[in-house]
């Protein structure tokens, strides 16, 4: 992205040519990879032409003329926002999400909306009403989820920048499986206004790109207090640290049990790289990690069950064609509108909030959440960052886990505790296993995005994992 900006500035090519380059890649590869739900060719070229016509005058925004793709849960005025659901397949929001508005104001040119798991519920992008997204490194593999479309679009060079959202790992896991860099910011760092809710206390929008420095630049365009989101934090902007700072990096070896041996090897090498950079590695303990998954699924499903109550066929979204009465209309519309995984979560969530079960599930899960958070806060008394794996294995095969929800949920083993604690974490590539990229996480204390990104930038200055790209032209033809 740095290069694109320089080239645009030097007029090596125009914003229109740049946009056209990405649109051409999308039309060449999207059929097979399926990472876009909506491509806004017209809007994109119009906007790029605008920049070209005023070039050199007022176009000083940092991301001026740079293409971007928005995950299809960010509302975009005039363009469909589907959440990859039959329920919203023809929904056109009358407004822009704060993230969309802010990135637009910083000069980005939107290419369109990326595929995702339905309502962001999934870890493989197989729950999308618009079909699964394929991993650009191996088309039989999943790209991860729920921001699978965004990760695959960046990995396959269909966009240099993408927005994603992360509830239990939805930015970090697909970034890891597709070999791109993605940040889940601290809960409250990025406005949720206009980002269709899955689990409100966990959802957090964030940037995805090839490198940590690009992720930083996109974060700078997205972040900041928003009076329209009561949970948005009024904190100062992310500032990158001075380079050459020596950090203490925590290393939670105990949670590596069950981790793919080859992935563990990659993380080991990354650890050595950090030591070589002058950082100190220190062993840390992260308690309650196992319990975190259960707590996460109770809490996120509980919130989802009521967040999705508004899709009742009354005001917008899918309404069943024929119904006997009101209750029948609700039942049919929701039965037809939602996919299996969404229904599963609504049912579990409704159950855990019901009288007689609330204490045993919801309240207990809240207690675990507090313990997980306390565990991290204790760890951060002694370390600046924590280095951890992102996924237990590289990208798995499509349709291999979609009948085994519990196994699927375990994909988020390493990302969920961070989400429950509301912490920032950067997922960045650190190697390959069987030709598939694998990533690692750099986790920081609340609002320490600067330190987290600084660590990632330093690592990427001395490694080139993030510069590897799948040979799509060879596998798919161009």
């Amino acid at each position: 992205m740095q290069e694109l900006r320089r080239d645009l500035h030097d007029r090596k090519y125009s914003a229109t040519e740049l946009a056209q380059f990405y649109l051409d890649r999308i039309s060449a590869f999207n059929d097979r990879i399926n990472c876009f739900i909506t491509v806004d060719e017209e809007g994109c070229l119009e906007r790029a032409a605008e920049f070209d016509s005023q070039f050199g005058s007022s176009t000083t925004q940092p991301l001026c003329g740079i293409p971007i793709a928005h995950k299809d849960l960010f509302c975009t005025a005039g363009l469909p926002t589907t959440c990859a659901s039959n329920m919203l397949k023809s929904f056109i929001a009358p407004y822009d999400a704060t993230v969309v508005k802010r990135t637009f104001d910083k000069g980005t040119v939107s290419l369109g909306k990326t595929n995702m798991d339905e309502f962001a519920m999934g870890s493989s992008n197989e729950t999308s009403f618009f079909g699964p997204v394929r991993n650009p490194w191996n088309l039989n593999r999943v790209p991860g989820g729920s921001s699978g479309g965004a990760a695959a679009a960046v990995a396959s060079g269909m966009t240099p920048l993408a927005t994603g959202s992360d509830t239990g790992g939805s930015i970090r896991q697909p970034a890891s499986l597709c070999g791109v860099t993605g940040l889940k910011p601290t809960y409250g760092r990025v406005s949720r206004f206009g980002m269709i809710a899955f689990a409100s206390s966990l959802d957090q929008g964030g940037p995805m790109a090839h490198s940590a420095i690009d992720v930083y630049e996109l974060l700078a365009a997205m972040e900041g207090h928003d009076p329209l989101d009561s949970t948005s934090a009024d904190v100062s902007k992310t500032i990158l640290p001075e380079s050459n700072q020596s950090l203490v990096i925590g290393y939670p070896e105990a949670i590596f049990d069950g981790l793919d041996k080859n992935i563990a090897g990659c993380i080991e090498e990354a650890r050595a790289e950090f030591e070589a950079l002058g950082h100190t590695i220190k062993s840390v303990e992260l308690p309650h990690v196992e319990a975190a998954i259960a707590a996460y699924y109770v809490l996120s499903s509980a919130e989802a069950s009521t967040n999705l109550a508004r899709y009742d066929g009354v005001r917008y979204g899918h309404r069943a064609a024929e119904s006997e009465d009101l209750i029948d209309m609700y039942c049919k519309s929701r039965t037809e509108g939602f996919g299996l995984e969404v229904k599963r979560r609504i049912l579990t969530g409704t159950y855990s909030l019901s009288v007689g079960y609330f204490d045993a599930y919801y309240l207990k899960a809240q207690k675990i959440r507090r313990l997980v958070r306390d565990g991290f806060l204790t760890a951060f008394e002694n370390v600046d960052l924590i280095l951890a794996p992102v996924t237990p294995s590289p990208a798995f095969e499509i349709a291999s886990l979609n009948k085994q929800p519990i196994e699927m949920y375990r994909q988020d083993l390493y990302t969920i505790p961070v989400s429950l604690a509301g912490l920032p974490a950067l997922s960045l590539p650190c190697g390959f296993v069987d030709g598939l990229p694998v990533g690692m996480q750099l986790i920081g204390p609340h609002f320490a995005e600067g330190a987290v990104l600084g660590g990632g930038i330093a690592f990427q200055n001395v490694t080139d994992w993030h510069d590897q790209h799948p040979a799509l032209e060879a596998t798919l033809g161009s």
């Binding site: 206004f193 809710a197 009561s230 949970t231 509980a302 009521t306 999705l308 508004r310 005001r315 019901s354």
Partner: protein, 479 residues
């Protein structure tokens, strides 16, 4: 054997707070607008829209809490109350379940017989109103109007402290007066600004336990509360005396038939799946916020009552009536501030003014006689410029005119005859003109004095003071 039954009643009042905008969105609150024009993204529950709490609603709730001497929560939580209904756009209502903003308080309720009942307020919490379903406008279809959705409500819940329908109605009336006093609700019952639910049960007199209760929903006038509760008390007693059982249920009052009827059949209690709304952080109410609300509050009725008694030497009962609503109190204070005697002013306001308002179906917010006019009238009575009869005359005039009291007195020559010589001349001439009656009086028929007084009043065109005339006559006739 005849059982004496004791009714036990508690009420819940939904008070629409008179904020500029809705409780969780910036939409202006407006009654009677075209359907759905007062509903924005948040009110329509658009995907991705989020609630932001309106500080004005919080301030009003705190104001109410302070006025009833309740504890204000330092931290309170907004919960989601989940249920599906077409006029509930999010599929849940944002309300407060376990931690209401206002805790336990007290309300002094003035009854018609002049006595006072202390009613405990259990709690008051903030929540959003739903929209409206319109069933009668489209054939075979129901219309949804979301203008009202998100209007702030303060739900006030009392303890079951009331023992009669009249007490329940008086409690509703007192709460109505209080929220109007505090200027947190327009009090317009016809537009639904305050709605009352009444929980009614009966028990044999002397019992301390509670009988099974029913809830009458959405009653929107004081009179209907009294009627509905009375009907329900009779219905329950009738069932119990015939060996039946009361079924816990929700009932509705039909004013045209003056009866309550069951809204739904017997059912399991609803499970609203309350849980803290993750879109809203816990609300912290700081001492400085509380203090600033307190500083912005008007003097409370109770404090004002005490002050009236202490400063003006009027009875507690009269002071209680003067402070039963803010308009009366303000009217009284303005009149007294213009120099009128307090007791005499109070008598006029609660007597002649009240009667005239009643006659014209107006209320104290809309008295046609200004405080200045009333003060002048009272002053002219006090300094005996006007007789009490003429004062009533002048009052009738200023009821429909802006003319000053003194102008009326001068224009119509109503000044009371206070000049002793002039008056005794007048009395003398009446005595001279009625020798026959004078004879009768001297013969012992003292009642006839009244006739002569009447003649003097007539001759003075009402300007003489009858008591003074009476004295003069008696002296002149040596009786």
């Amino acid at each position: 054997m005849n059982t004496t039954w004791e009714p036990v009643i508690g009420i819940e009042i939904h008070v629409q707070l008179a904020t500029e905008s809705k409780i969780f969105s910036s939409t202006p609150v407006e009654f009677g607008a075209e359907p759905n024009v007062r509903a924005n993204l948040v009110d329509l529950a658009m995907p991705g829209a989020l609630p932001v709490l309106n500080e004005e609603a919080v301030a009003m709730a705190v104001k109410f809490g302070l006025a009833i001497g309740a504890e204000i929560s330092e931290t309170c939580i907004f919960d989601r109350k989940n249920y599906f209904y077409p006029d509930l756009p999010k599929g849940y209502q944002i309300s407060q379940f376990e931690s209401p903003i206002v805790g336990r308080g007290q309300l002094s309720v003035f009854l018609d017989d002049g006595s006072v009942r202390e009613i405990s307020i259990t709690r008051a919490h903030l929540e959003e109103d739903a929209g409206k379903s319109i069933h009668d406008r489209f054939r075979q279809h129901t219309g949804i109007d979301l203008n009202r959705a998100g209007t702030p409500l303060l739900e006030v819940v009392t303890e079951p402290d009331m023992r009669s329908a009249a007490e329940a109605a008086a409690c509703f009336r007192q709460l109505h007066a209080l929220v109007r006093w505090l200027d947190i609700c327009d009090g317009n019952l016809a537009e639904g600004s305050m709605r009352c639910d009444a929980n009614v049960s009966v028990r044999p007199a002397g019992d301390t336990g509670f009988g099974e209760r029913t809830e009458i929903k959405n009653i929107n006038s004081f009179r209907f509360v009294e009627r509905a509760v009375n009907y329900e008390i009779k219905r329950q007693i009738d069932i119990l005396e015939h060996g039946g059982e009361i079924v816990r249920e929700t009932r509705q009052y039909d004013a045209t038939r003056d009866m309550t009827f069951s809204m739904r059949g017997k059912e399991l209690s609803d499970d609203y799946r309350y849980f803290p709304d993750p879109d809203l952080l816990p609300l912290r109410i700081t001492k400085s916020f509380r203090d600033s609300v307190r500083a912005s509050m008007p003097e409370l009725p109770r404090q004002m009552l005490d002050r009236f008694v202490a400063d003006f030497g009027i009875d507690r009962e009269v002071a209680a009536r003067l402070t039963s609503n803010r308009e009366i109190a303000t009217y009284f204070e303005s009149t007294v501030a213009l120099g009128a005697a307090p007791l005499l002013s109070a008598n006029w306001i609660l007597g002649d003014v009240a009667a005239a308002l009643n006659r014209d179906e107006r209320d104290y917010s809309d008295v046609p006689v200004s405080a200045q006019q009333l003060a002048d009238l009272v002053k002219r009575l006090e300094d005996q410029t006007l007789s009490s009869n003429l004062a009533k005359d002048v009052f009738d005039t200023i009821w429909s005119s802006d003319e000053s009291v003194d102008e009326i007195i001068d224009r119509r020559g109503l000044r009371q005859l206070s000049d002793a010589d002039e008056l005794s001349d007048l009395v003398q001439s009446v005595v001279t003109a009625h020798p026959e009656q004078v004879e009768q009086i001297r013969g012992g028929a003292t009642k006839v004095v009244g006739f002569l007084v009447g003649q003097v009043m007539k001759a003075s065109h009402g300007r003489a003071d009858p008591r003074q005339v009476n004295g003069l006559l008696k002296r002149m006739l040596n009786i």
